[in-house]
Symmetry: C3
Subunit: 461 residues, 3 copies
């Protein structure tokens, strides 16, 4: 071990409560916020600044010096400067040799530069030990003490001891360090805070589009058609009746769309006779957003459940029920129990309940903490076996409920099919093809292909 | 590296299955439980005891010796002694030099001593390598093998190799070690098992107090008033009707209280013209328990949902419905559908469902595993944007449902306002002020202040 | 530090983007998949193969050499060979000295060999640094890029630097390494992917058996008995009515079975007068699957809730309600509100709602991410105190609902007791014994025993 690292070791917390001095380059917002927080946690802080005299924004107990003098006072230097100004550090290379430089910068766009800011810094100053940290923390949250978001601070760096020192500071500030490995991880860490649910974009737009389409489809058939031809004003259907038609349709279609790419993948592999070629890009992307599609489907299914359960509380439904009962009473007769109706009503409810139950189970296993606790075999079992069972139950639920409309001519207002018929196309197609795929004569070659067998091995040469 | 640490390395598990001897000082309950478990996991255990002869409680396969002889047999010594007796270790300092001492002690109160027990031990024996561990495990759970609580063992210490050795033992016992960094973390680790939901205390008491107040308020107006003036015994309202009035009121008020401190913070910052001064203490504390307030609000909202959904199953409600229908039938007429009523009933249900749906989303994102997987920007989006949307929807739900009572004189029994009117005060105030705050003329200076601009920069000098 | 490890350090990623060459022994499916992925992530890959000429399945950019030459080109060698063929590595021992060998093998059965594959490899080649990794990843998922299951890669090994190098590769491939400690953990890591919910087997079979029994019991009493003696065809009860009788019964019994082993344990300890003897095996196993029993009980309770809430939507129920109302209307009278009925109906609903609410809370705290965030005292409080409260509420719910059937002779069709009576046996027994156990005269000695006191200390001698 060289002299320098033992120097650093001497500065590391060592049963004494005295904390080592930290230097901060840059007096911008984040530099000041971090300084405030560090002073509050017991660290002596010294700022390195181009113009040490204008220092009125800087925390009271901090010293402000020129860059070189400030750097000499500490073993850890936090670089709170933007990447464009990193070049001015090159003349300081000798002073910074052996020091731990903490890169806290973020970019404005994803993958703005070919290499990450931290790697760029390490290339400029090869004699220093660069550690990436703190970039996921907001200056505002740091200062106000109201860290309501994740307290995780991603740390990466090539020097294990330097990383350890930075992680100790992170802990002392009340945050949780998470070691992401060597400096190679810096790119990923810098991209992290710029993302706003990147995996959710396509599923969200698809859902919004489909929802809008089905909403206006129902609006036309249930409200406008009724108003024109039957002179009934059912405009209040907009609040519950139509949403409760759109939600189950969306849930069923999206759930089927979760399993459709797997079907395509199997067909492509069977056709090619090998698994050693990449799928088309659209299929890859589709497969990667299956979890998001499934969760949106679950949201629609949950809304459908609640919308259905409030039915008896609706003024319209009470009115309709009363009307029916009063009509019977005035006719002085009681209709007998229709056994077929009782069977149909009870079985579509039961199928829906069981399907939704499995659906919720799938949702729970996709919680990160749960899926991290199951192994690959268990996850496949739940997501594939139980998932298909949920799809079968939900499709059956829709079939039993909407079946009576298939052949009734009144279901074809303006020659348009009822929404239930539309909703069944994709799920039925998925189930039929899947049914074919599990036949031994199809399943056996597919399994062989997935185990590495190739029909035409010359492909990969 | 000195001779001692290489000695320890030689003892570390090294492809051979033979495990190193562990010494335990102290034959108390935890010492014995740990010894049992270690012997069961294949570690030779030797106890250090003041009186080696009375050893009948100690596990059969363990050796019992005096402290000095026992310490010499092992590289790791577990100190299962109370802090008050640590002083007797000072004469053993020479024997313990270079050894790994595992401090497993807990205190009876939070922050009982100025420094943690482990740091105290390290100060007494500066030549030893102190590691804090095992204090979060219960002796009873350890021995009975029924570790139903968290299997995490927090480990901290200044010597990386010593910590690694202890973490290997932790893993061998079937527990999960969690490295909390240097010995500075010992205070936090020692406080950890003494806490019983510390962040929940204030929100729970507040909720209980408000719930009791609203319960008796409703009891007076709905049961006692009715009994006195209308001679109706509606005492069974206590079971469902009144809880289902109190729950939504509590949910709405608590949800508004989650967003109120943010409003106060913005006003204070606008008034001061700087963000570089701490908020008053009460506001800081309030901001830190927003998550708990929100979760309690969600619990109340969930109860409200279930209480509402069981409505049609209540004997009282069936009776009331039958009465209405029979009256119509006996009068030989059917009331027509009241379109306004249908609109009102459907829209308050739809608003409530959507508000609750967003509320549940907020609850799911506050699960630790989910919030650790979203970045700061995503978390802010969900908790702020979606949270305000939920508040708007829930307030609108209450307004549409309770609106008709505002002007009706029958709602002012004993000159007291109806509970719905009370419940709307805080949420409406929050929404109105928030609406003012997002106007550009107010939002722009606020954003500047939050980015570090100061109206009166002399403040921080 | 010896020469070899400093060599390895030189190869470790060190601010440069150039990645070290990785050697893979074995050209089987997993070897090829891993090679593809590594080349894609920027690693030069060289394969070691017995027959370098037949290489058409191997990724294009990879080099294929004999084992010895391939090994010389890299510091890390991935052993993608089955355990049975490990012996052929012995002649290569000299070439492999100081190299990092990554064991990625899995077995076909749990604990197939006395020691783990990785430990076996380390014994065969004591001069190499064996690291266990990648065995939990599926080759298919790795290649297709659709890693929908856990991205965690468990890594263990005795050499810290070697482990660090492997963990960096894991990260570079887009996976999450999880350090499981020394090579002793290899057995556990190798068993991990072979398990399919091992803890759930007994609870699932028990639940299925009990469910089937109660289903046929209800079928006999509610459908067959009615058909034979009352000539009513209520076959549609199979869809909702009977499931909604079986589910609550199962939920209540399973919840009681969660708390029964704790009762047995207390009685055994009181009888023996010591806690220092292991419980019988069946009790140990029972205690370890309490969480699973509780979660299955929660699933049944949730199904019961939904089945109950859809009641008003059932055709049978609407028909029954209409019949009742029409009968009253035709008789020209309105029945007055039965206050006792209103009380009973409201209180069993309220008890059920509160019990279910606590039950859901228990379920949420058993989510891994939540239970890791509470300490032992908090977990005990929730699972024990709140759990018993949930059991009391659910038992009371059943008593109030089913109470009226206890004494009615019509409840004893075919001299068999009603299912409600059966369901109450276990929970009532648990609650009565628990009530006895919290009496001071019983609780005090029990607490003493659990703190380590022994009535008859000679036992452990």
């Amino acid at each position: 071990m060289n002299k320098n690292s033992s120097n650093i070791m001497a500065l590391a917390p060592n049963t004494s409560n005295k904390r080592e001095t930290v230097c901060i380059f840059g007096t911008g917002d984040f530099g000041r916020a971090l300084g405030h927080k560090m002073i509050h946690s017991g660290y002596p802080v010294v700022y390195g600044s181009r113009s040490p005299q204008i220092s009125n924004l800087i925390p009271k107990d901090a010293e402000v010096l020129g860059h070189a003098e400030a750097a000499q006072k500490a073993a850890i230097i936090i670089i709170a400067i933007q990447r464009q100004h990193y070049n001015f550090l090159i003349p300081l290379a000798e002073v910074l040799r052996g020091k731990v430089l903490v890169d806290i910068s973020n970019n404005l766009k994803l993958n703005q530069y070919p290499e990450s800011n931290a790697e760029h810094l390490a290339q400029l100053l090869p004699g220093s030990k660069v550690v990436k940290a703190f970039n996921t923390v907001s200056a505002w949250a740091l200062q106000s003490g109201t860290l309501d978001a994740s307290r995780q601070v991603f740390v990466c760096g090539d020097d294990v001891e330097a990383k350890q020192m930075v992680m100790n500071i992170v802990r002392a500030l009340g945050l949780t360090p998470l070691d992401k490995g060597s400096l190679l991880a810096a790119q990923e860490i810098e991209n992290y805070p710029l993302q706003l649910f990147p995996m959710w974009k396509f599923p969200m737009f698809l859902s919004l589009g489909l929802t809008a389409f089905f909403f206006f489809y129902c609006l036309a058939l249930d409200v406008i058609y009724t108003y024109i031809y039957e002179k009934n004003n059912f405009s209040f259907f907009i609040a519950i009746t139509i949403p409760n038609r759109v939600c189950p349709v969306m849930a069923l279609i999206l759930l089927a769309l979760v399993y459709l790419p797997g079907i395509f993948a199997a067909i492509i592999q069977l056709y090619r006779g090998t698994k050693y070629r990449r799928f088309p890009d659209w299929l890859d992307k589709w497969m990667l957003c299956r979890k998001q599609l499934g969760l949106i489907a679950l949201a629609f299914a949950s809304l459908h459940v609640v919308f259905t359960l409030v039915t008896p509380m609706r003024a319209f439904v009470s009115w309709r029920t009363s009307k029916g009962i009063i009509a019977q009473a005035l006719n002085n007769k009681t209709e007998p129990l229709n056994n077929t109706n009782a069977w149909l009503s009870d079985s579509y409810l039961a199928l829906g309940i069981l399907g939704y139950f499995l659906f919720v189970l799938l949702g729970i296993t996709s919680l990160p903490s749960v899926s991290n606790n199951v192994n690959w075999r268990e996850f496949r079992f739940v997501q594939s076996k139980l998932g298909y069972l949920a799809l079968i139950l939900c499709t059956a639920h829709t079939l039993v409920y909407g079946g009576k409309w298939f052949l009734s001519p009144s279901a074809y207002k303006w020659y348009l099919p009822n929404i239930y018929i539309l909703s069944l196309i994709v799920p039925c197609a998925v189930l039929v093809v899947k049914f074919v795929l599990i036949f031994p004569c199809v399943d056996k070659p597919l399994t062989q292909i997935r185990q590495g067998w190739e029909r035409n091995p010359k492909y990969s040469e």
